[in-house]
């Protein structure tokens, strides 16, 4: 390697001396010296016509060969489009799409209106989601419309999005006879993050950490199923129902007993034991969601408790939360960690989505319990 570079440098230093005289009468023009190329004069009248014909026939002859090396000047370079496709560059942009998290179904969009504001042809329209109970705006979008027919594919929306929720798609085969179908609603815009990762891996790798961090923060402020992609709702609901059935069968009414009941339920009832892994076959392995739900549950409980400050509601809620966070871990280990709001690295259980749902359920129950306790206190 070093030898190579040495010989190379030697030739390079010697070369200019040998190449000083290139063209004898070097004409000087405004931008430096010009090189005059001596072309062969045509031998006879009509000779240059034959030369021109020769070029064309030469191209014809060589066109039966595929042009694979870009330095070749002849050869067929056609890509037979529907069958063959050139790889699109990652930065290729066609139409904007919205992303949602594969694991939880949560949309990355928080309805911040940045894209709607910057859109030059003003084809982006959105409605912010509201908490159905309080009526307050939630960091999620309830409807999102992009008029693909007027979109100019400038990519400003994707550039401006602080949550990496809107990205430019690579799909360019959008021609249709149905014009209204080009006004695309939220369900048509949403794509899983894994899809974007497949078309633009390096771009997503850059954005991934901050996008998920922001998503985690936003998920906490989204009540119930708000902010979950419509195509994921069925999946999530199915998981919910499974969990509900399990809970109704196994858990006693008292929220304090949820944790042992869960453990017992999973171990004892063969029906749920067989159902749980089946439900977890979908790639939703995050206990993160469960943890979050637990935190939410505890927050709800706290909120309820603050109204009446019942001493007995607090431990109940906390018990429920920790039990759900780490179903397999001993209660004593999980408790302090959960109370500090930094969840311990819980072992990934095969029935994680169930845990999430269970957590939510537990949260509701805990809140109800706390409310009941508060009411009892007031009375």
């Amino acid at each position: 390697m070093s030898n190579d570079t040495l010989t190379h440098s030697v030739t390079f230093t010697e070369a200019p001396a040998a190449l000083t005289v290139v063209v004898d009468p070097t004409p000087q023009i405004a931008r430096g010296s010009a090189v005059i190329v001596e072309r062969r004069r045509p031998k006879a009248a009509g000779w240059s016509l034959l030369q021109g014909l020769g070029v064309v026939v030469d191209h014809w002859r060589k066109s039966f060969r595929k042009l694979d090396d870009p330095t070749q000047i002849a050869g067929t370079f056609t890509t037979e489009y529907p069958e063959e496709r050139l790889p699109l560059p990652e930065a290729y942009r066609n139409m904007p799409i919205l992303l949602f998290d594969d694991a939880t179904g949560h949309e990355l969009c928080t309805s911040c209106f940045q894209c709607q504001r910057i859109c030059p042809p003003q084809v982006i329209h959105m409605t912010q989601a509201k908490d159905p109970e309080t009526g307050k705006p939630v960091p999620a979008v309830s409807e999102f419309i992009i008029e693909y027919d007027a979109c100019m594919s400038c990519g400003f929306c994707a550039e401006v999005c602080p949550f990496d929720a809107i990205k430019m798609d690579h799909d360019f085969e959008l021609s249709t006879a149905n014009h209204p179908s080009l006004t695309v609603h939220k369900a048509g815009l949403l794509r899983p993050v894994s899809y974007y990762q497949s078309i633009a891996p390096t771009f997503w790798a850059e954005a991934e950490a901050s996008a998920y961090k922001k998503l985690e923060a936003n998920k906490k402020r989204r009540p119930a199923s708000i902010g979950i992609a419509p195509q994921m709702i069925e999946q999530v609901k199915a998981a919910h129902e499974l969990r509900d059935d399990q809970q109704e069968a196994d858990s006693p009414p008292a929220p304090v007993a949820i944790a042992p009941a869960l453990d017992a339920g999973r171990a004892a009832t063969p029906a749920t034991a067989s159902a749980a892994p089946a439900a977890s076959d979908g790639d939703l392995p995050t206990d993160k969601a469960a943890r979050l739900a637990a935190i939410r549950a505890r927050n709800e409980a706290k909120k309820a408790a603050e109204q009446a400050a019942p001493a007995q509601a607090q431990p109940a809620a906390e018990g429920a939360a920790t039990a759900l966070t780490t179903p397999d871990a001993p209660l004593t280990d999980a408790l302090p960690a959960a109370s500090e709001r930094t969840a311990p690295p819980a072992p990934a259980t095969p029935d994680a989505p169930l845990d999430e749902k269970a957590a939510r359920l537990a949260a509701i129950r805990a809140r109800n319990a706390a409310k009941k306790a508060a009411q009892a206190e007031e009375e």
Binding site: A44, A45, G52, L53, V55, W60, S63, G75, T76, T78
Partner: protein, 448 residues
């Protein structure tokens, strides 16, 4: 074909039909075959041209409809049939309708005298060559009718250009073909083809050479120069690039075809492509031996005929197939050259076209006729004809005469080409100088 029909009807089926019935049926069969062949050739040529020119431009060309796009012309034809036929309001309706017919019919007549193989010719007219070019001129009338009837200035301009061009270039085309009439001693295209047997030396000049069907006229200096001149003139007659001035799409829309659509447009297209096919075929026939080629003469000698009643009829079929194959191979080769020219050269201006035709091609072909006359005199005449310069008896004498004729005509033709080219180049330079020096400068004079 008469023999075949007679054999089938009278000998095989025993119908004892009168002579005129056999004659009528045989002619109808031949006409039907030619009418089927002509549009099929057009279909293939459009596909062939598009594929070839695509390759020359590093593209692929139509390859979607059917295997490698072979059904593309059929799809185009269906499209043409289903298009609306629009006649301009102010057009002369009757002439507008007649023009495509007048343009397309004569080119189908030209098929009648084209020899496809040994004894394979619809009508072996003694004046076949004359008939061929006389009838081809009639389609020019159709072009003028189209341009006039359309009542459109582009159409009229295109028609005028077409007529001017075809009329001027028929002169060099026919002058360059006169040599073949002199060489073969006949205007029959069959006789012209049969005169081209042999091996690089025609058997009519030197009868002792082996007949491999390669004694093509193009191998003589006279024939070569005539071939070059004729092919250039044929390009102009067929309105091919670089002489596609009548339908120059960047200048006058589509020339005389501007106001035509649907099947009427397709008729012009058909006429043009049949004409191009026939011009390529006639080039092959007159200069490159037509159906002559290695093996045909042997197959003919084995075949059944009046001279050779012991021959096998299978050889008749084989000879015909091989002859047709040679003719079509040569024709498609010339069409390929036409396509390559289209890929290589831009369109000429009308004044360049006229200059080239009248100041270069016509003098050159006239000198070529002189060469042809000298060729005939040297190879065939003796003291009896008043040309006893070389009088050799016997076999080597013919060969020596042939060599002398070759050398003399080569010198004359090369000198003529060189002289005329030089004259034209000087003339061109002088006109350019006059343009730049005088007040007529089209571009600002360039400082040294």
């Amino acid at each position: 074909m008469y023999d075949v029909v007679d054999f089938l009807l009278n000998t095989q089926l025993g119908l004892n039909s009168p002579d005129w019935v056999v004659m009528l049926i045989s002619h109808l069969v031949v006409v039907g075959m030619l009418f089927a062949v002509a549009p099929l050739q057009v279909l293939f040529l459009t596909y062939y041209e598009r594929r070839a020119i695509a390759r020359m431009q590093d593209r692929v060309g139509p390859n979607r409809v059917g295997y490698e796009g072979l059904l593309q012309p059929v799809a185009d034809g269906v499209k043409m049939f289903t298009k609306e036929d629009i006649v301009p309001d102010s057009a002369d309706k009757i002439v507008h309708l007649l023009a495509p017919i007048v343009a397309a019919a004569p080119v189908l007549y030209m098929f009648a005298v084209l020899p496809w193989g040994p004894n394979m010719i619809a009508v072996d007219l003694p004046t076949g060559l004359l008939f061929f070019f006389a009838i081809s001129s009639i389609s020019t009338v159709g072009l003028l009718m189209a341009g006039w009837a359309s009542n459109n200035k582009f159409a009229l301009l295109g028609a005028m250009r077409a007529v001017a061009q075809v009329v001027s270039y028929e002169i060099p085309a026919l002058l360059s073909l006169l040599f073949a009439v002199m060489f073969a001693g006949s205007m029959s295209l069959m006789a012209i083809v049969e005169a081209q047997g042999g091996l690089f030396i025609s058997t009519t000049d030197v009868p002792s050479v082996p007949d491999l069907g390669l004694g093509w006229f193009v191998f003589t200096p006279v024939g070569f120069l005539a071939f070059v001149c004729f092919f250039i003139a044929a390009l102009a007659e067929g309105e091919r690039t670089p002489f596609d001035i009548p339908e120059a799409d960047s200048e006058i829309v589509a020339g005389y075809m501007t106001e035509y659509s649907g099947m009427k447009f397709a008729m012009f297209y058909l006429a043009q492509y049949i004409l191009n096919f026939l011009l390529c075929a006639i080039t092959a026939t007159i200069f490159f031996g037509g159906w002559q080629g290695p093996g045909v003469a042997w197959l003919v000698s084995q075949s059944l005929s009046a001279d050779n009643p012991a021959g096998n009829p299978v050889y008749n079929v084989l000879a015909g197939m091989l002859g047709t194959f040679y003719l079509l191979a040569k024709t498609y080769m010339f069409f390929f050259v036409m396509v390559a020219l289209r890929g290589a050269f831009p369109r000429l201006r009308i004044d360049q076209l006229m200059n080239f035709g009248w100041k270069f091609l016509i003098p050159l072909t006239m000198i070529n006729i002189l060469s042809a006359a000298l060729w005939i005199a040297i190879t065939r005449w003796g003291t009896a004809q008043g040309f006893g310069i070389i009088e050799f008896a016997g076999e080597p004498g013919n060969l020596v005469r042939w060599v002398i004729a070759f050398a003399v005509t080569l010198v004359i033709n090369v000198a003529a080409y060189w002289f005329l080219a030089r004259l034209n180049v000087q003339d061109h330079a002088a006109r350019q100088a006059a343009l730049t020096a005088g007040g007529l400068a089209v571009s600002p004079p360039r400082s040294a």
